[in-house]
């Protein structure tokens, strides 16, 4: 029996009973759909994260009081460490030849005002001079602040273009004065728009010199330090140099643990991979269950089909169909059936992923391997759960089958 003919007959049977076919295939459809949709999300996130996290900041690492903590226990262990200070940042800048730039930083939210206009929840960033190199901004108008501005604790700020629009409209912000919280600052520069990251604007902020920030907002508490090494290869060296500087400043003896944290993008990537690994496991579980159910439904419908078509099987056998021919006919039918379900599931999954990407900040990327996996999975389901009904059909006695009413 040739393949094309069997597949054609299976499709004809599918068309003849649309509702029954759809219900039969529901399990397979849902199984494949969930796999495609979830894998699309994970794939989209992966691309997104590795682009944002690794590409731009691949030679940036962070020094802070706590390090990279993921649990309450870890926090308990590190909460009594000494604060990281702005002087630490200066010492690192002096003692780390492999660092291209060292930025001390702190963040808070303030209300920004210009004349009668007011913007709530504006991100106020305290940054050492040169922040735009680490945070990856470009200055569009005016200038950025210098180390001298920082040393003198000048009341100047560089603002993001969205904040500039919201406060100044058509006016040129450079040279004008705004209030950020309870202090007044001169706007000296505006950055170039960067767009949204996971649904959050990156252009609605005001950056001020770090020492100004410490004076106005961080009388007590720890600062964070971003270090950008000269290149990717010198990352480990730069980290070691930072470690040496801080350990010396804190008089740590050999054998004592660091009482500060160094976090790299790799640490974040690791956590991220653990998270998405969990998503994969859950998805595979959900898919396995719905595919199992889908497979059993297909087996059931194929058993019904074999019974309904007992006479047809008898006729085919009388005309000379071998057992193998009958077996392969029914296997092709069940496989065609489930692959149809798989294809519908793939389309549904893609639609779901695109829909979610359109209405939420989550990115989605449909991956070719997940589509291939979807087709393969449904094919395997068809063959596996179709084999028992097909075997039953092939075993029918032709005389009995021809007599069947």
């Amino acid at each position: 029996m040739n393949l094309r003919e069997s597949a054609g007959m299976a499709l004809a049977a599918l068309r003849a009973n649309k509702l029954r076919s759809f219900l039969t295939l529901l399990g397979t459809i849902i199984g494949v759909m969930s796999v495609i949709a979830v894998l699309s999300f994970v794939e989209g996130l992966n691309r997104f994260v590795s682009e944002k996290l690794l590409a731009s900041g691949s030679n940036v690492f962070y020094v802070d009081k706590y390090g990279f903590i993921t649990s309450q226990e870890e926090f308990e262990a590190v909460r009594d460490r000494p604060d990281v200070t702005i002087d630490d940042a200066d010492a690192i800048r002096d003692g780390t030849p492999h660092a291209q730039i060292v930025i001390a930083q702190g963040n808070t939210q303030v209300v920004a005002r210009f004349r009668n206009k007011e913007q709530k929840g504006v991100q106020l960033r305290g940054r050492s001079a040169g922040f735009e190199l680490v945070d990856d901004y470009q200055i569009g108008a005016g200038r950025t602040y210098t180390d001298l501005d920082d040393q003198r604790r000048r009341m100047v700020c560089v603002i993001g273009p969205e904040l500039a629009d919201d406060l100044f409209g058509n006016l040129d912000p450079v040279g004008r004065f705004i209030r950020l919280g309870s202090e007044t600052y001169e706007v000296i520069g505006v950055t170039v728009a960067k767009g949204k990251l996971l649904g959050q604007s990156q252009d609605r902020f005001a950056a001020i010199p770090m020492r100004t920030f410490v004076k106005t907002h961080l009388e007590r508490g720890s600062v964070d330090i971003s270090v950008k090494s000269i290149d990717q290869a010198s990352m480990p060296l730069a980290q070691q140099e930072v470690r040496n500087v801080l350990r010396a400043r804190r008089h740590l003896r050999p054998g004592q643990q660091d009482n500060f944290g160094i976090t790299t993008s790799e640490n974040v990537m690791q956590l991220y991979n653990t998270l998405t690994g969990g998503i994969y496991v859950v998805t595979i579980g959900v898919a396995a269950i719905s595919l199992l159910v889908g497979g059993i439904v297909i087996m059931n419908i194929m058993l019904v089909s074999v019974t309904e078509r007992t006479r047809e099987i008898g006729i085919r056998k009388a005309m000379g169909a071998t057992r193998k021919a009958i077996l392969s006919q029914f296997l092709v039918e069940s496989t065609t059936l489930s692959v149809m379900g798989g294809l519908i599931g793939i389309l549904g999954g893609i639609a779901l992923a695109l829909l979610a990407a359109a209405v939420s900040p989550l990115p989605a990327a449909v991956s070719i391997p997940s589509i291939i996996a979807g087709i393969l999975m449904s094919g395997v389901i068809g063959i596996f759960f179709g084999s028992y009904p097909a075997w039953r059909a092939s075993k029918l006695d032709p005389i009995e089958a021809l007599r069947y009413e």
Binding site: M1, N2, E5, M9, A12, A13, A16, R311, E312, G314, I315, R316, K317, A318, M319, G320, A321, T322, R323, K324, A325, P398, I399, L402
Partner: protein, 234 residues
């Protein structure tokens, strides 16, 4: 010799009981004979037909088809013999309901492994030969009983088998249409085919040139009846 049957027994086990459907049958049929097998129901004629058609195998005894001992063959070898040597015509037509006439006639060629184009051509020719060239794309439920049986005859002939085996071929037809179908068998026989007819109707059996009567699983009589033309001869 086309068919050689020697002391053939077919025993069915129905629960504890053993039913002797065939109880020692000897029969020889030559190439290009036109044989009717007659008998009341339960006489064993259907069982004999199933064995001759290689749908069933003997419990005891021998059935040689063109010298091959059919009793010793596997299921798949039997399927191949059915495909190559036997053309079935059934009382209830037994066409595939979802396939059109052309496709139904193609079926034996599909299992014979004939290529698509040749298959199509031979099926068309066979349908033309039974006068149905204008009904090729019709499904069985769009055809009359007589047309359906002609499709079945085309299907039986298409792979050029050694034996045409017809089981009550007019049983579901009115008498005029039945006459028509019987005329087809006459023609097929005259073209050199071997025709074996199973029937319980004497009128139908009378068309054949040899009548084998069965009773209680045995052959009761085996009479060669010269055709009307031959009878007229001195």
């Amino acid at each position: 010799m086309l068919i050689e049957i020697r002391s053939l027994h077919r025993i069915y086990e129905v629960g504890e009981e053993k039913v002797h459907a065939l109880n020692g049958v000897d029969l020889e049929i030559e190439q290009n004979e036109y044989v009717a097998i007659m008998g009341p129901s339960g006489s064993g004629k259907s069982t004999l037909m199933n064995i001759v058609g290689c749908l069933d195998t003997p419990s005891e005894g021998q059935y040689l088809l063109k010298g091959t001992d059919v009793g010793k063959l596997s299921d798949d070898e039997l399927a191949r013999i059915r495909n190559k040597e036997i053309g079935f015509v059934f009382q209830t037509f037994n066409l595939l309901a979802r396939a059109d006439a052309l496709h139904n006639v193609e079926l034996p060629l599909v299992y014979a492994g004939v290529r698509h184009e040749e298959r199509r051509q031979r099926a068309k020719d066979a349908l033309e030969a039974v006068g149905l060239s204008d009904r090729m794309k019709h499904k069985p439920n769009e055809l009359s009983g007589g047309q359906r049986q002609r499709v079945a005859i085309a299907r039986a002939l298409v792979n050029r088998p050694s034996i045409i085996l017809a089981d009550e071929p007019t049983g579901n037809l009115d008498s005029a249409t039945g006459e028509d179908i019987m005329a087809s068998f006459e023609r097929i026989w005259k073209q050199g085919n071997t025709v074996i007819l199973v029937t319980h109707e004497p009128d139908i059996a009378a068309k054949a040139r040899r009548v084998v009567r069965m009773r209680d699983g045995k052959i009761e009589s085996d009479v060669r009846t010269p055709s009307q033309g031959e009878m007229a001869r001195p």
